[in-house]
């Protein structure tokens, strides 16, 4: 039995639940002969992948849905053997080049060249090109991104790239200028609620509107998260009630607890306790930048503007350093310590003023 997120994934461009005008435009695009490279970007859970799979189906028919998983092998110039998982159909192939870290360039180049050179499906009615889907292009090394530039021009006759990213901030301009960029905004809370209703109807369940709205609010405009939450609600309690508890991701709760620890006491001892908690979050695979932004949001709530400004400044600075270093915990802890210092001084001063 598959999860609702997979089970009820729309398969046809025209059946997509939101950004319908964009879907229509994509459909028109497919009808034109000069299909460009695409760069599809948007926050996670905005439905980028679903949209792309629909697009492939529009391009190649249902054959693009017969997927198989395979492991491919590559050899780096330094003769290191690397392997990577791929998902492919007769018409396209998809990889996560970041899985192989700094060797991503080799994978991309070999893959694109292979695809481009083995040439197209016979042109009788079919497309002259195949599609290579690259995930997480914003995390590609600069080396790999540069290598893509001329490749995209050189093999354009037989191979189209669909690049997927969360944001184009880290995609080099040279790549952006070679693609049709398609922005996929996260669905609004109302749109999410509508999708929840549709899915529940398909499952034969009745969902109170208040509950749908509450789930949508908790989901941070992430549709995948909303559907998972909704399914979890169903497991916890059915028939639904409008005031039933919506299971929140526990790491958010956890960050809130850390923040209140920091606000109650600013001391080396407390710092040690906070560190344990931060470790736990990291071990559970919560991305450090999410911890950082979560902490910032919680900590500044009680500060005045000039202090908010200081705290945001330090958060941005330490988070940046974290990207350059390789031990996130150091930088998280440094930020907490800094905050404690600023906050303690602030509290003492305002107490002093009071007397």
């Amino acid at each position: 039995m598959s999860l609702w997120v997979d089970k009820h994934r729309p398969k046809d461009l025209m059946k997509l639940d939101f950004h319908k005008d964009q879907a229509l435009r994509l459909k028109n695009l497919v009808q034109q002969s000069d299909f460009p490279h695409l760069l599809v970007y948007g926050p996670s859970g905005a439905g980028k992948k679903t949209r792309i799979m629909c697009l492939l189906r529009e391009l190649y028919g249902s054959g693009a849905e017969r997927l198989r998983q395979e492991t491919m092998h590559f050899t780096t110039p330094s003769n290191k053997k690397i392997e990577i998982m791929t998902v492919s159909s007769n018409y396209h192939i998809e990889v996560n080049p970041t899985d192989v870290g700094i060797h991503d360039r080799v994978v991309i180049m070999d893959l694109v060249k292979n695809v481009a050179q083995t040439h197209q499906i016979d042109s009788s009615g079919q497309r002259e090109f195949k599609v290579v889907i690259l995930n997480e292009v914003d995390d590609l090394t600069k080396d790999a991104q540069h290598a893509l530039r001329r490749t995209m021009e050189k093999y354009v006759a037989t191979c189209r790239l669909i690049l997927i990213a969360n944001s184009i901030s880290r995609v080099i301009p040279a790549i952006r200028s070679r693609c049709l960029t398609i922005r996929v905004p996260a669905p609004t809370e109302n749109e999410i609620a509508t999708v929840l209703h549709t899915v529940c109807k398909k499952e034969g369940l009745s969902l109170p509107s208040e509950l749908a709205m509450r789930i949508a609010k908790c989901a941070d405009r992430n549709l995948r998260r909303a559907l998972l939450m909704c399914e979890a609600c169903k497991v916890q309690k059915y028939p639904f009630t409008s005031d039933q508890k919506v299971p929140e991701p526990d790491w958010q709760q956890f960050i809130r607890e850390i923040a209140s620890m920091i606000l109650t006491e600013q001391s080396p001892k407390k710092l040690g306790e906070v560190r344990q908690k931060l470790y736990e979050l990291i071990i559970h695979g919560i991305p450090p930048d999410m911890i950082f932004s979560g902490l910032l949001c919680e900590l500044v709530r009680n500060c005045d503007m000039s202090m908010k400004c200081q705290v945001a400044n330090h958060a941005a600075e330490y988070e940046h350093r974290m990207r350059l270093g390789n031990k996130p915990i150091f930088h998280l802890e440094a930020f907490v310590a800094k905050f404690m210092a600023i906050y303690k001084k602030f509290v003492e001063e305002s107490l002093g003023d009071a007397f």
Binding site: P36, A147, L148, S169, L180, L296, H320
Partner: protein, 350 residues
């Protein structure tokens, strides 16, 4: 993957050269950027100096080693490809070696592949007896991504094989090329194309493609969004036409990933932290790009009438810091929040 590769068979219509004769089949779809890539050096817009030198080579002069540098989409690759085609005609395949950042160009390749290609001797006549230049051409596109070691190896080959081989290096930043190489090349800087020339070129393409641009006002928008990068302008036009069925100013902004001016203004006018938090969350959820916002912001701030010099100064300085951090991979949320705080402070203390 194997099955995926096997399904394709190499069809006979593969060669682009035959596609012209097969009028019944539709031509392989080409993006406008490729379709309208200059065929001869006379089609190159602007860049008079280079074109002049290349023209002399075509009429029999000797070709020096070349180094082309300049921003993307200004015709560097096009210029050398067109010149090569005109120089060698149908023997281009034997005489030209093109390597770019996607090819393996480590020190080993330079030593083996490039060197052995350079060592081949060539005559000054074609197989059919007509004359042709007595040398080969090695094009190293995107040379700024070559390692220094590879460049050093290249330098030795360049020195040794000058008699039979010319090199053309192409890069964005000349500072990434080691001095011993730059000093051996004639250097040409490709300037961002002049506005009116870009417009003229776009107009030609629009006419050829049957795109209706009305009074041409949108072309100004296209030029404005592309900063002298013709590739970007052409891609934007085509995408807009294909996606929306027409070319509009808003459409161009959307397909090039620009941030609507309205949002830039809104960010520049935030008054308190609450507003800022909401703005940043929404901005990122709508998938706009923080680095793009910063880029547009810095232009807006400098020209903003309602800001004092001190305010401009404070904000601009922070923009620089944050954009640097973004480039290193810093989180967009953090940087936008930090910069936003600076803007709030500046707004409150004129």
């Amino acid at each position: 993957m194997q099955a995926f590769l096997k399904t394709g068979k190499l069809s006979v219509t593969d060669k682009p050269s035959t596609s012209g004769t097969k009028t019944t089949k539709k031509k392989p779809p080409a993006p406008w950027v490729e379709k309208y890539r200059p065929k001869t050096i006379d089609d190159i817009v602007d860049q008079g100096e280079v074109v002049q030198v290349l023209r002399e080579c075509l009429s029999g002069g000797d070709l020096p080693h070349l180094l082309f540098y300049g921003p993307p989409g200004t015709g560097k690759t096009s210029a050398i490809l067109a010149a090569a085609r005109q120089l060698f005609g149908d023997i281009t395949r034997d005489r030209v070696l093109e390597l770019n950042a996607s090819d393996e160009r480590g020190i080993q390749v330079i030593r083996d592949k490039v060197k052995s290609f350079a060592q081949l001797t060539v005559s000054n006549t074609r197989p059919d007896g007509r004359p042709c230049p007595p040398y080969k051409l090695v094009i190293l596109d995107e040379a700024d991504s070559m390692t220094t070691a590879a460049q050093a190896a290249l330098r030795r080959t360049m020195e040794r094989e000058t008699r039979t081989t010319r090199f053309c290096l192409i890069c964005n930043y000349v500072s990434r090329i080691i001095p011993p190489i730059t000093s051996r090349c004639s250097k040409f800087r490709f300037k961002p194309l002049a506005k009116e020339n870009v417009i003229k070129r776009l107009q030609e393409v629009c006419v050829a493609e049957g795109v209706d641009v009305g009074d041409g006002e949108v072309l100004h928008q296209a030029v404005h969004t592309c900063d002298g990068d013709l590739r970007r302008a052409l891609t934007a036009l085509q995408c807009c036409q294909r996606l929306l069925g027409k070319v509009t100013a808003d459409g161009l902004i959307e397909v090039t990933g620009l941030v609507p001016e309205k949002l830039v203004d809104e960010y520049l006018k935030v008054k308190n932290y609450n507003e800022l938090e909401q703005f940043v969350a929404k901005f990122l959820m709508d998938a706009y790009s923080a680095s793009q916002l910063l880029e547009q912001l810095s232009a807006t701030v400098v020209n903003a009438g309602h800001l004092t010099n001190k305010q401009k100064c404070d904000i601009s300085e922070k923009v620089a810091v944050c954009s640097h951090r973004l480039l290193d991979g810093g989180s967009e949320f953090m940087q936008l929040t930090d910069l936003g705080c600076t803007i709030i402070m500046a707004n409150n203390n004129p």
